[in-house]
Symmetry: C2
Subunit: 651 residues, 2 copies
Amino acid sequence: MTTAVDKAKQLLPRVIIEHVSPEIDGGLFPIKRIVHEVVCVEADIYTEGHNSVNAFLLYRKCGDTTWTTVSMIAIGNDRWQGELVITHDVDYEYSLQAWVNDFETWQIDFRKKIDAGQDVTVDILAGIQYLEAISGKEKAVKRFDVLRGQIRKSSSSAETQKLLLSEELLKLTQEIPASSTCVSYEKTLKVHVEPQKALVSSWYEFFPRSFGKNGAHGTFKDAESILPVIARMGFDVVYFPPIHPIGDTNRKGRNNARTGKTGDPGSPWAIGNKDGGHKAIHSQLGKMEDFQKLVRTAESLGINIALDLAYQCSPDHPYVKEHPEWFFKRPDGSIQYAENPPKKYEDVYPINFYCENSAELWDELKSVVDFWIDKGVKIFRVDNPHTKPFAFWAWMIREIRKKHRDVIFLAEAFTRPNIMKQLAKLGFHQSYTYFTWRPMKSDLIEYVNELTRTESREYFRPNFWPNTPDILPYHLQSGGRPAFISRFVLAATLSSNYGIYGPAFDLCVKDAVVEKEEYFESEKYEIKKWDWDAPGNLKDLMTRVNKIRKENVALQTTWNVQFCDVNNDQLIAYVKTSPDYKNIILVVVNLDSSNTQSGMIKVPLHEWGIPYDKPYKIKDLLTRDEYIWNGDWNFVELNPYKIPAHIFCIK
Amino acid sequence: MTTAVDKAKQLLPRVIIEHVSPEIDGGLFPIKRIVHEVVCVEADIYTEGHNSVNAFLLYRKCGDTTWTTVSMIAIGNDRWQGELVITHDVDYEYSLQAWVNDFETWQIDFRKKIDAGQDVTVDILAGIQYLEAISGKEKAVKRFDVLRGQIRKSSSSAETQKLLLSEELLKLTQEIPASSTCVSYEKTLKVHVEPQKALVSSWYEFFPRSFGKNGAHGTFKDAESILPVIARMGFDVVYFPPIHPIGDTNRKGRNNARTGKTGDPGSPWAIGNKDGGHKAIHSQLGKMEDFQKLVRTAESLGINIALDLAYQCSPDHPYVKEHPEWFFKRPDGSIQYAENPPKKYEDVYPINFYCENSAELWDELKSVVDFWIDKGVKIFRVDNPHTKPFAFWAWMIREIRKKHRDVIFLAEAFTRPNIMKQLAKLGFHQSYTYFTWRPMKSDLIEYVNELTRTESREYFRPNFWPNTPDILPYHLQSGGRPAFISRFVLAATLSSNYGIYGPAFDLCVKDAVVEKEEYFESEKYEIKKWDWDAPGNLKDLMTRVNKIRKENVALQTTWNVQFCDVNNDQLIAYVKTSPDYKNIILVVVNLDSSNTQSGMIKVPLHEWGIPYDKPYKIKDLLTRDEYIWNGDWNFVELNPYKIPAHIFCIK
């Protein structure tokens, strides 16, 4: 045989396995799961003509030497499907195997011939030949040998025929790869298994400095004292803006004034002064012991403290003196401050990740993360990761993950879609999203479907934020309290990861800089005094919603959203169910903050196994009201001034 | 720097180039083009943050050592696009390159600062620094150096500023890759450049044995004598069913009778008897010299003779005696005949491509193609390629192509989509399609859009057949002459490759076996006497349509179909235009074979540059009638008994 023939046989083996999914960028990146999640693997698998093929999904924990096999099933048009369930908190890998099943091809034809009343004497012999050719080490072989033995000993042609047509026999042959035609998919694909909180988390962001008592600068001790309140509200991640010393040079004043006045606290994102940089604590917040005590208290309440990882420096950061070469130098010899022309951020120097001694720089930056992990921190919200090299994050997150599989990174990258996806592919566990700017029903549906029904669901875990210290969206400015409630319910029920920028949200603060989405008198530049229990606050609502999230597994994943038809564009409705349909949640939200809206909603009754002609009970978990519904189309009405949302549980 | 860092930088270089298209199965297969066709390459290209990137499409003729570069353009959302035109009949390859353009990033910011009235003294120095860092060997460097020189010599800050903002300067920097950040795409992708007829061909299939004079068995001489008629009708490929000796054993009788009567000619697909096999000629057709003369005459008329390549043997084929091991053996020692249970084809033995001495077998099968190429044949219509190994075809076609780039293979694979696509990917130049069974408007539009607007257009060239000797579709049986005309016009204008199974089509033969799509008294099993000039024949129509195809370049490609809105489901309308819009064709077909249908049709007037408020002329190239239209919606009416189609030319 010539080499060209061999090459062709390698390129195109007897059985083709192609278009495997999930497979991110040809296998360059892993997919992501948490324990108990399922990986549904599909591929186009076929051979020439009408020969039957069978296929295995192979999987194993990384490091294991043997594969577990799952018989794949044909779902039409040569597409095959197999599932694996993640049972352990280790990484997995998977691949595929497929082969020609001559016995199956034969059995299909054999049945047709019998149905047509043809003489099958020789065919019986052929069938037996195919059976005799089968061998292997699979579990199925034992039982298969018993059946094969029965055929050998069969006393009549009629009996042989019946045995040969057996479904069980066929099924067994489908579990024993034919060595002569068996093809292995050329790639081994990876599954990163990540902590539970990577998928399910509710974030509460606040500035500890604003929680001081009697007008004093807030401390870690103050922050610690309010943790029980936040825990009662049901949040399980508390995220602090940077807690490090704040620079003095070019310190920003209130309302983002280019120069601050004496006593202005400055922006916490201008990191570093004579007291230290990214490994130090702003002196007015307390000491390292205070911080560690806070972390421990939080943990005892089921809360993780998330730190802000903002790789940038104030002009007073020790790095600037010790390593001026880590920054960009301007032609006049000065160090380049951050800018987004015509805006200037003179209180911040960006870091030059591709400077000459970048090895040393990258190591130092990674050591910041190691430092805080050592202090008990497990979650990092990364500031603007999209302005730093992809390679840096890929390397850093991989290195951290080698020792600390339980550490989570959230990417704050409000930027173009490809960049956001790249950061998720290379390792970020969670990502901020465009949810913040999707107030309209059609946009919301399109976006959530894009997040949950395209390939990105394999690696991009959304974290929905209705607001942040940087963003007070126009619809919250204009919509007031009803808008805050509806956006909160949407975030907390559409996505299993969500977060709010705390008191400003609880209190429905809607004062913005004119024609901007920037908070007026932003907490970024001043210390606020929050009247946390002011009338109209959303604490109770949040408490209820978070309780509902905890009690209903259907809300503990993002991947199961299914939108419902509603004959009113101001009402959005969606269903989330547990895989066993024991937990069925229907959320309806009025997107109109000013008017009562009503309409008919269609629910997928057939999927739930509820008959169309019998009444069934639904209960609003927010108000505890119960309703009797009938069939798939039912009426809903929501008054935004009472409450603009239903979270129904269907019994 | 640690190895992990290096690895990360390799995996994720400064500039990401991903999701390149076209790229078939990760580059496993080439795309296909003919000379003068364009390859439009796209990719997602971006770097971190808001830094500007630039990109080159690189291409070259295979074997060349230097690349031609084309600046790619950004088409939004980080997607970049570049085009290459195939100018020579050799294979091409292409790749991509991208880099960060610091000067461009700087210039964008610089303009914003000037617009904001900021002091830009230091920025000017920075811009000059970026310019000084640029070097390269590209053509652009020469002119760039002139401009850079002007800046160096500039006498005033205002002049420097103006020079630095120059569009020309920016454009030049976009053509000089920055060596420090330049990334090359890791794959080199291939373009197979194939003969013109692979894309544009009109096929006429007939059985030479049916064209004998005075009741005799037709010969090659008879066939040769009717070639001028076929050439006048405008066909440029004449395809013969197998011309080889026909087996005697189990020879089929008329109407597919299992046993023939004495004198029955048998099916030409039962190849081989004592006179020879695939390299021999059925004695009643003539001698090899006659065949070669026929091929030469055809060529002088612009016609290629296409042979049927059916790798199967009658029981009397010499291979059966000489190489019984090339066939499947049944348990009773007999050779396995072809079957599709419960149907048996006892006049045909399939070949065992995976027999033990398959190397020898494959070589012999390839030598059949070499043999006929040597006799002047350039086109092969391959019978049921999907029942033979993919690897065989990949190897065979590649080997033939090494010596004979002008040879074309058409895959007669009426089977599942993945298999049809695989055959096209591995090398078949043209493919039969589901067009044959798509009589309804919505199905036709969906299918044609699938063929022309998805990735398969890069490798799968459709050949539309309204009928074949195996298939007389139900819509032709019931629709009669109007249906034959409308299906012909559809095939010949939707697809640049089309074909008909000749006299039976020209004469609108619609008698089928009851409840089957099989011809009654099929020519496959008997010699027909066609009254080729019988009333109602379609020769004139075909002549006209083929002439229109030749005179209108818009009809010489399949990739430019654009369907129009019509407010009548029985009327289908589509536009095809040349890239320069000098040739605009609008086809309208009435799919209802019984009733006159009329409706309003919307044409893309804005694309053609015709004003909405001025009348324009359109001419029906079939009837030569002229009409004056106005605006984009116009009225059309088609009476199937007159003619069920318009082929309009828009001036």
